[in-house]
Structures are given as structure tokens and as C-alpha cells.
Amino acid sequence: MKKVLAILLALVMVFSFAACGGDSNGGGTDDGGDAAAAELKVGFIFIGAKNDGGYTQAHFEAMNKMVENFGGKVEVAYVENVADTDKQAALNAGTNLMDQNCDVIIGCSYGFKDALAEMAEANPDKYFLHFSGEQKNDSNFTNFFGSIEQARYLSGMVAGRMTKTNQLGYVGAYPYTEVNMGINAFTLGAQAVNPDVQVKVVYINSWGDPELEKAAAEQLLTQGCDVIAQHCDSTAPQLAAQEVGAYAIGYNYDNPVAADAYLTAPVWHHEKYLIPTIQAIMDGTWDNSVYYGTMADGYVDLGNLSDLIPAEVKDEVNAAKEKIASGELVPFTGPITFSDGTVWLNEGETAVYDSVASWPASLPLVKGATGSDL
């Protein structure tokens, strides 16, 4: 009898977990007000929670702006907390969205690419858009991203002006091209206004582990850095900076949690891509070209410049922003050497990318930035 009860209780525990998992994995639909007239339904697969204050919230708010823009013509549905290392989880989320009659599926994390490619193959009448990937097919699957390095460059200018020790800290996720490109742009921006500046990089080998992110920022702060920038998901590095009276630069989304430290953040405006793309799909004029947004499009941008930044620095950064948008200023303009002394770009050369597929396979740090590449 007791054994039966033990098994029963264990089962209750398992099922209550499943129930919890189900709920936290929950999604939602938003009919955008005027449900009757909807012409198109768009489904989003999010890696995180819609209120995470960062990466996924940027996508979620862009989704809402898109819905608002179309005023009832477009419905949306979404699934949160889909692990991007688990292809089956992404397939389940996508199938779930297609079962809710979504015509367009948007995957908002790199790891969804294989699942999207497979679903695109199997559902030729639907559209699949992938953020941050490099894959596409010939008909109904493509990817979108942007030159966030332009915003990183500007945030570097802010940091270069605000530092007193000439030591900037950078908490990076993994040592690979996307992260290093951001560090390089940040470093070059800082060097443009302050040639003596050094950038110290610590990689945490995780996209998000708040404790580790904070510890990494703390180690950089004790090594003399007084501005902390980041390419990782939580706001913990900003808290670490605030605790010791240093400055911090966020990422993804304008979220001044640590208001006494927060300077600005490179941010994404995904609605700049979503609105015209969904319009094109409804008009039947969509083609499967890759989108790579720029500051000129308003797709990548620098968030609000906080009041901690002096007015003349704001003016300088805003002037540079206009030059970047007009194409007059390119962040990666030679001569640039890597930290090991080899040449990346010669005098007069520039590196401009138009898709994730055009990135170099690996990219070392530029001179002035130091970090472990192992």
C-alpha cells in the first residue's frame, strides 16, 4: 500500500512539473483588436520570456509595434522559452503555431535555423524568417540581421569619453565572430575619441548566467576598468558597475535598471524589418532576399543617451551617428591591425557586411583589445 502511495506521489510531482513547464512555456495570441478583418497571421518563436528586459523583449515589442501598425489586418501568436539548442522544441513550437493558422513563422534565435529550414521544406505555402542565421532556401525561407557594429562603435565613443582610467571592460559571451565584431567596433569607436584607451575582454562562455556575468564585470572593475560594456543577456554587469560607482553600457534593449551607471546601449528595432516585410507578403511582392539592416534604416540604433553623459559628448556621438547613417563613416576602416600585429585592413580599405553569410569565419580582436581566444 505504501509503495503504491509512493509511486502515486512521485507521479504527482512529475505531472505538476509538467504542468509548470507547460505554463512557463506558454504562448499567447493577440488578435490586434479587430479580429474579423485579419488578412495574415504571424507566429513568433522566442528563446526567452517576453518580459526578459533584453533580447526577447526587444523582439516582443517590435512584434507589438508591427501589430499596431497594421491595425487589425495582422494577427500574431507566439511561443516563449523555446530552447535554441533543441531542434525538436523549435519544431514543436513551429508546428503549434502553424496549427493556429500562422502564415509566417519567425524564429528569433540562431539555433532555430535547422528547424526552420526543415519546416520551410515541408510547408511551401508558408513563409519562414530567421533572425541572426545565415541559411535560406530558394523560395520561402530567408534570414535577417543587421550591422549592430555601427551602434557598438558609437557606444565605444561614449565609453572612450567617459572613462577616467582609460581602461574599458567588456563582458563577452563566446569568443567567436559575432561577439568579436562587436568588441572590435566598440574598441575602434573608443580609440577614435581617446587613442590611449584599452579594452579588456572577459568571455563567460554562456549567453546568460547572471552570477557569472556579474563576477566577470567585478573582476574587470577590480582591474581598473571604469566603464563596462557587454554582449551577454542579463543586466547583472550593469549592477556590478553601479555598486562601485562605475559606468555601464547595456545591450539589446534600452533598460536602465542600474540608473546610476547606465550610459546607453546598442539596440535593435526589429519592427523596421517586420513591417515592410509583412506588408510585402500581404501584397504578394515579397522575395526571399536576405535583409541586413543598418543605422540608415533605423534597424540598429544607439539607445537613449543618459543624463550622465555631458552634452558635448552627446553632440559628438550624434554627429558621428549621422555620418554612419549617411555612409560617410564606416566603423571598420583601415588601417586596422589585430592584437597579434597582423593587418586586417590597409589604409583606405573598409569592411562592410551585407549578410551573416558574408562574415569572416573567425575574427581576432583588434589592437587595443585583449581577451583570451581559447
Binding site: A6, A10, A49, E211, L212, Q219, V257, S372
Partner: protein, 308 residues
């Protein structure tokens, strides 16, 4: 260097609470692998308490109760119903993870109230903190860390120097003999499992209330499993657990420190050191056959009276 050692203490504190909690549990012969789950339950409920009352004491109390509640599930299943300890513990980890995601979902990204953050800010102990070297490392911390010192010392005194501690060790070492000597086995097991769970809850609360007082679903990130390894590393001794926790905590940030100092090291390699060290300790302690570094004799076994 001092700043790094002080950071090691901070990184080791959540591990210390969880490890001492698990040592107390395992000393009663119960292997509770639900540490990670109980830490998450403590972390999330502590944060709920902080958010809804802005009172640090109530927040900590909530964390303690949540950890205890997790441990109670385990205790009912393994002690009263004699379910398999390993399976129950693993289930508790899965349950705790789901529980924390579910309860924490609406408050993702929320920050703990300023009252709570201020209460847990670094508060140097007057006098002690001005001792050279030792002061800045040990006594310029937050109240949670000081409580951690108290916990491991009290646990060591309890286990080795009190009558009840002796009984506890007897229960874990040879449950049948302890039963025959008149010790209330189930009472001992229940109490120590619950106390262990409460300490795990505190370890989780340290992460969510003190370290990064913004709710994120993955706050514990596997530290519960490190604590399970630490119990073996510390050979079920709370004093060794303190040094082990500081060592493991230090190793978890050593790679970051070396990178910040400009050394080219792989974080992956540094992350392996604690586990390699644990394996080495296990090998050495079995080779030495030293009595005090062996696990409690009846660890992991359900006790059936008159069962041979």
C-alpha cells in the same frame, strides 16, 4: 589579491549553504540529489517575498520555507514511504526547476526593492574588518556571508561535539544499530532533511536576493550539482566544506580573473578543475582507506525495521 579572495568568498557562499545543508542531510543517511531544485525554490520564493513585502527578513523566511517544503516532499517519499532516494532527489530537482520558472515568470526582469538591496549591501564588521589582509577578505562582506560562517561552524560543532550530533552520525552510519539503541530514526531523518532543505533554500536566496537582485529564471545554473560534488570533496565535514566552497567558488571565477588580467587561458579548462579535483579526492580517500573521509555507511539506503 585581497579583492580576488574576497570575491572567492562571495562566489563560495551559495555553495557553502547548499553543501552544509546536503552534509546534514547525508549524515542522516539520506542522499538528496534535489539540491539544485531546492535552491531554485528558495531563490524564487525569497524573491517573491522580497517583491511583495520589501522586508529582507520575510524574504529570507520565504526562502527557508520554500527549501524546507521541497525537502518535505523528499522526506515523505523517502523516509515514510521508502521510495528510492536517488530517483526522488532527481525528480525534486526537475520539480524545483519547473516551480521556479512557473512562479518566476511574471516577475522576470523585476528588481528587488531597494530596502532589501540596502539590507544585503556590504557591511564591514567594525574592528574585525580593519585587521590587515584577513579583515578585507572575511569581514567586509554582506550579512549573508557572515551568517554562512556561523552556519558551518555551528554545523561542525553540532555534528562532532553534541549528543544529538553523535546520534545523527549513528543514524547515517548504521541505521539498524541506531534504531536498536533507541534513537527515533524517522524523527532524526525528517528533521535533518528539512534543515538541509532550508539551508539549500538560503543558498538559492543568496543568488537571487544578494548577488543579482533581478529575477532571472536560470539563477542557480548548476550550482546545486557543484554542491553535491563538494559534499564528497569535503568528506561530509562542514569545516572542510567551507574551504571547499571557497575553493570551488574561487575556481569558478579564476578564469574570469585571469582573462581580466590579460592571461590567455581557456575558461573551459578552468571550469573543469573542481570536478577533476573531486575525482582525485575520491581516489585518494579510497586509496588511503581513512575512516573519516568515507561516506556514511547507510547513505542512500531506505531503512526497513527488521529487514535483513
Amino acid at each position: 589579491m585581497e579583492s580576488f579572495l574576497a570575491a572567492c568568498i562571495v562566489a563560495g557562499t551559495p555553495l557553502l549553504f547548499a553543501t552544509v545543508g546536503e552534509i546534514i542531510t547525508e549524515r542522516a543517511g539520506c542522499m538528496n540529489l534535489g539540491v539544485e531544485g531546492m535552491m531554485l525554490m528558495g531563490a524564487v520564493m525569497g524573491f517573491v517575498g522580497a517583491l511583495s513585502t520589501a522586508n529582507p527578513w520575510i524574504a529570507v523566511l520565504c526562502a527557508v520555507l520554500a527549501g524546507t517544503a521541497g525537502a518535505l516532499i523528499y522526506a515523505v517519499l523517502t523516509v515514510s514511504l521508502r521510495a528510492n532516494q536517488v530517483v526522488t532527489g532527481l525528480t525534486l530537482t526537475i520539480f524545483g526547476t519547473g516551480f521556479a520558472s512557473f512562479v518566476g515568470q511574471p516577475m522576470l526582469g523585476n528588481m528587488a526593492p531597494q530596502e532589501v538591496i540596502a539590507f544585503f549591501a556590504k557591511t564591514p564588521i567594525p574592528g574585525l574588518s580593519s585587521i590587515p589582509v584577513i579583515g578585507p577578505i572575511f569581514f567586509k562582506q554582506d550579512v549573508f556571508v557572515y551568517f554562512g560562517y556561523l552556519v558551518f561552524i555551528l554545523a561542525a560543532v553540532y555534528i562532532y561535539k553534541t549528543r544529538m550530533g553523535l546520534n545523527l552520525r549513528a543514524v547515517g552510519e548504521n541505521t539498524a544499530a541506531a534504531d536498536a539503541s533507541g534513537i527515533n530514526i524517522n524523527l532524526y531523518k525528517y528533521v535533518h532533511i528539512l534543515v538541509g532543505g532550508a539551508l539549500c533554500g538560503l543558498g538559492g536566496a543568496y543568488l537571487s536576493l544578494v548577488r543579482v537582485p533581478i529575477w532571472q529564471s536560470d539563477v542557480v545554473s548548476g550550482r546545486g550539482w557543484i554542491a553535491v560534488a563538494l559534499v564528497i570533496f569535503a568528506s561530509w565535514n562542514p569545516v572542510k566544506a567551507f574551504f571547499g566552497a571557497v575553493l570551488f567558488g574561487g575556481l569558478s571565477i579564476l578564469g574570469l580573473r585571469l582573462q581580466a588580467m590579460g592571461f590567455n587561458v581557456s575558461q573551459y579548462l578552468v571550469d573543469m578543475i573542481p570536478y577533476v579535483a573531486t575525482i582525485l579526492i575520491v581516489i585518494i580517500s579510497t586509496r588511503k582507506k581513512s575512516k573519516e573521509s568515507q561516506p556514511p555507511g547507510d547513505l542512500g539506503n531506505s531503512y526497513f525495521r527488521e529487514d535483513r
